[in-house]
């Protein structure tokens, strides 16, 4: 790819031809506020917050849709840019609720971050009341249109990445809103597959997982479902999993997850979990200690060494678990009767 040279805020920057001014600035560590740009999605130019000044270009072009060019001179913090950003953001906030303290997205909200950066002390516009509704039909997430800023990320991720098109923007002035594509029906009745990618991309609290709780840490691991092996981060609070996030760096899934990987983790804490060894006595299971259960198993298996024994390992457990099971069958029980359900 060819390189071009441009200047951003006085810094000489070398960028790959074809990328946007926004991408070039970010690569250089220059922050330009945006609410609709996303590295996984096509440029959109919807929120009008990433406006910049570029020599020899009229007005204030959106940096997220303007490709870099040789010799370009870009300024991101002129009075004109600041004034335009403030005005855009103020308009955006006129119909956004102010009760951040009772919003689950509080402190994770991109709108908060951008508002803090742009800096608005005294709103000049009167608050507008928008007709809004809450759609909680989906078992995993809630749509709250009062918090929607119409950045279109949910619509775009569903089209561009999920390839489904379950959502669309209905443009109608102040009553513009995101609707399901088969008409404005509850999301549960739509073609939505509940992959949750729109929830993961939403910059505000408009799309939030149900029962959302803040995590105290994230642990990098692999999804326990199909063989794609999606990289995930488990969000952990205390000794509990409270959420899952796709790992954008993992080459198998590049941040995407399906409905099972995204939302299918509550089995881990289901009351049906086995929590103690069980020994069958007089036809009924009785709880036992590990010592007792292991001693019993060893004394019984001792009678069946050779080909009257078999082990069935598992496609669910770890590689290391499988290794020791086949080693047990072969080296200790003296048989190659070891298999698992690879064929099923």
């Amino acid at each position: 790819m060819q390189k071009v040279n441009l200047t951003i805020d006085g810094t000489l920057v070398e960028a790959t031809e074809g990328i946007t001014v926004l991408e070039a600035a970010r690569a250089e560590g220059i922050y330009i506020p945006t609410l609709c740009a996303d590295p996984d999605l096509e440029p959109y130019g919807g929120c009008r917050l990433c406006l910049v000044e570029i020599d020899k270009m009229e007005g204030l072009p959106a940096s997220c849709t303007t490709p870099v060019a040789e010799g370009m001179v870009v300024r991101t913090e002129t009075p004109g840019v600041q004034e335009a950003r403030q005005r855009t953001l103020e308009l955006l906030l006129t119909d956004h609720p102010d009760n951040c303290l009772v919003c689950s997205k509080n402190q994770h909200c991109d709108l908060q971050k951008v508002a803090a950066y742009v800096g608005i002390d005294q709103p000049r516009f009167k608050k507008l009341e928008r007709q809004t509704e809450i759609d909680s039909s989906n078992p995993f997430f809630v749509r709250d249109s009062s918090k929607c800023i119409l950045c279109g990320k949910c619509v775009r991720v569903c089209n561009e990445i999920q390839g489904l098109g379950a959502l669309e923007v209905m443009n109608n002035g102040l009553s513009s809103k995101i609707i399901t594509s088969a008409g404005d029906i509850p999301i549960l009745e739509s073609i939505c597959e509940s992959c949750g990618q729109c929830v993961a991309k939403c910059p505000t609290g408009a799309l939030m997982p149900k029962n959302y709780r803040w995590a105290s840490k994230e642990v990098s691991t692999v999804c326990p479902y199909c063989g794609v092996g999606c990289g995930t981060y488990l969000a952990v609070r205390g000794n509990e999993i409270v959420g899952v996030r796709g790992d954008p760096e993992n080459p198998a899934n590049k941040g995407s997850l399906c409905v099972k990987g995204q939302f299918g983790f509550e089995f881990v804490d289901h009351p049906d979990r086995l929590t103690s060894p069980l020994i069958r006595r007089n036809g009924r299971f009785v709880e036992a200690s590990f010592e007792e259960a292991l001693d019993l198993i060893a004394s019984k298996l001792n009678e069946y060494k050779g080909d009257q024994f078999a082990a069935v390992a598992s496609a669910r457990i770890t590689t290391e678990d499988n290794y020791v099971i086949q080693k047990l069958a072969r080296a200790v029980m003296a048989t190659n009767n070891i298999d698992h359900c690879a064929r099923l």
């Binding site: 995993f140 642990v219 060894p277 099971i325 047990l328």
Partner: protein, 528 residues
């Protein structure tokens, strides 16, 4: 997979066959959709109208069990029309003449009669696959779960070689593996005929190597496969069984037989995270830690070994599977089971498994590694067979094939075909997804998909309770009348213990892989 998931989106053509890709491997499905957006041609070969048909350039709707005829028909068109990649074949392959000879039985009239696919569509698909390189072939259990599944796979390999689609990015023969670590379980020799790294148990040198490493004598006789193990238990030749994290009572074909087999055992130990239908039959049940409660690795369908990390403490007295197994082994006098972490186990694995020779936890911390990775300085292998095939000659061997009908075809008594698969919202026997309330909002019961024509003839309406009967048993479920299933074909998943579909499926096995024919059996559907 011979290739890598990420490469799919750069393919010029994708053939998805016997795979309901967006349902069983949703993230691979996204890559196929991306490829289509990038201009790739998409060919779907599937008896059912799957989601991918929406974006397919060609949808081949073959009768279940006729894949060999369909794929050989495509090969015949390529050969007859001179579309084969002769440079690749000349340099990399052998046995072309015998293969060409076997194509004489697959003129398009015969192929159309067997498969039900119009001949011009077969030809069009052949031209599309041969004319758009690189082409990636994706397949799944719709190819393997047949009494001739091995032949189906060979037919795909023939097509890939014929079009020069092996050994280069975005091409290849790519099985999409169904479970999180089915690849790792196979790699580790949780198979009756191989040690870790597919080293054969009946090879004297291999056996000596493992005897020296493990300090014991080892059996030279390959063991039994899962289906054979259950038969042997039924016959009381196998008397004790240790089952870890599997639920054969629901997953095996002819499931009543599988249950009888387990009941015939003298001693059954089951280790799992839930009291499964199989665990209910056990003498001792051991509580295992879930994936989130232990360290280790999973190996995905593209051979990528990735770290699984403990995020929370095990519930109750549950323990990691490796720890439990080592405790049993030590109590039985086994030596070399003193591991204190999965990391230590991986050190032993890499010392004995050439394809894992360069894999260490320290390296995996920086990201997954695709085997073969024989040494520390080896980068891993995204694409297999780039220079030679793993045959004695190093050449890809064309396999002459014949069409063999499925073991059990419809007849007067059982006039419909039953084929089985999965739902997006569930996983295997629902031990996990059955315990996620939200997933059951989308699907909480078994459905029998049946074509409107068949439903009308049987007086069945959408939502009716029906009984599906085969020679082996009967199962009740709810009818879903839909032309997603072609006339003559019904479809069920095997997720629901209340409607145990495998009670009716066929025990016929592929003679090589010993995979049961879960994709074709003859049934009768009646209003319940």
């Amino acid at each position: 997979m011979t290739n890598t998931i990420g490469e799919i989106e750069n393919a010029a053509c994708i053939l998805s066959v016997g795979s309901n890709t967006t349902v069983t491997h949703p993230i691979v499905g996204l890559r196929v959709k991306k490829a289509a957006k990038n201009g790739a041609k998409v060919i779907v070969a599937n008896p059912r109208r799957i989601d991918l048909c929406r974006i397919a350039d060609i949808w081949l709707r073959q009768r279940p069990g006729t894949d060999v005829a369909l794929l050989m028909g495509m090969a015949r068109v390529m050969v007859d029309e001179g579309l084969a990649d002769s440079a690749f074949i000349e340099e990399r392959c052998e046995n072309l003449d015998a293969f060409k000879d076997s194509l004489k039985n697959f003129d398009l009239e015969t192929v159309e009669n067997i498969t039900g696919v119009p001949r011009n569509k077969v030809a069009e698909a052949a031209r599309m696959l041969a004319g758009n390189s690189p082409a990636s072939i994706l397949y799944c259990m719709g190819i393997t779960q047949h009494s001739h599944g091995t032949n189906n796979v060979m037919a795909l390999a023939n097509l890939a070689m014929l079009t020069g689609n092996v050994g280069k990015p975005s091409s290849g023969v790519n099985p999409l593996r169904g479970q999180n670590n089915v690849q790792g379980a196979c790699d580790m020799g949780a198979l009756p005929n191989v040690y870790p790294g597919y080293q054969k148990v009946d090879s004297p040198e291999v056996r000596e190597k493992f005897e020296a490493a493990w300090g014991c004598n080892l059996s030279a006789t390959p063991g039994l496969t899962l289906t054979e193990i259950l038969q042997a238990a039924h016959d009381k030749r196998i008397k004790a069984l240790y089952v870890v994290g599997e639920n054969p009572v629901l997953t095996e074909s002819d499931a009543s037989h599988a249950k009888e087999a387990l009941e015939a055992l003298e001693f059954l130990v089951v280790q799992d995270i839930f009291l499964t239908e199989t665990a209910l039959l056990a003498d001792v049940v051991l509580p295992a830690a879930s994936f989130a409660e232990k360290d280790g690795t999973f190996v995905n369908t593209e051979r990528r070994v990735q770290l699984v990390r403990k995020a929370i403490e095990p519930r109750g007295d549950a323990r990691p599977d490796w720890w439990i197994t080592c405790q049993i082994a030590r109590r039985l006098g086994g030596k070399g089971f003193d591991f204190d972490s999965p990391k230590e186990i991986m050190i032993e694995i890499s010392s004995l498994t050439p394809s894992y020779g360069g894999i260490t936890y320290d390296r995996l911390e920086a990201g997954g590694v695709q085997w073969p990775c024989p040494s520390q300085d080896h980068p891993g292998t995204p694409v297999l067979h780039t220079e030679r095939f793993s045959t004695p000659s190093g050449k890809g061997r064309f396999m002459p094939l014949e069409y063999k009908p499925s073991a059990e075809c419809p007849d007067e008594a059982y006039p419909l075909i039953l084929t089985t698969g999965r739902s997006l919202y569930h996983y295997h026997t629902r031990t996990m997804t059955g315990r996620v309330a939200g997933l059951n909002v989308f699907r909480d019961r078994e459905l029998v998909e049946i074509n409107p024509k068949d439903a009308a003839a049987l007086g069945i309406a959408d939502g009716d309770a029906v009984t599906v009967k085969s020679r082996r048993g009967a199962v009740k479920a709810e009818a879903k009348v839909t032309d997603d299933s072609p006339p003559g074909v019904t479809f069920m998943t095997f997720h629901f213990a209340d409607s145990p579909t495998n009670v009716v499926t066929s025990p016929a096995l592929d003679p090589v892989a010993k995979t049961p024919e879960l994709k074709v059996c003859a049934v009768r559907v009646e209003k319940a």
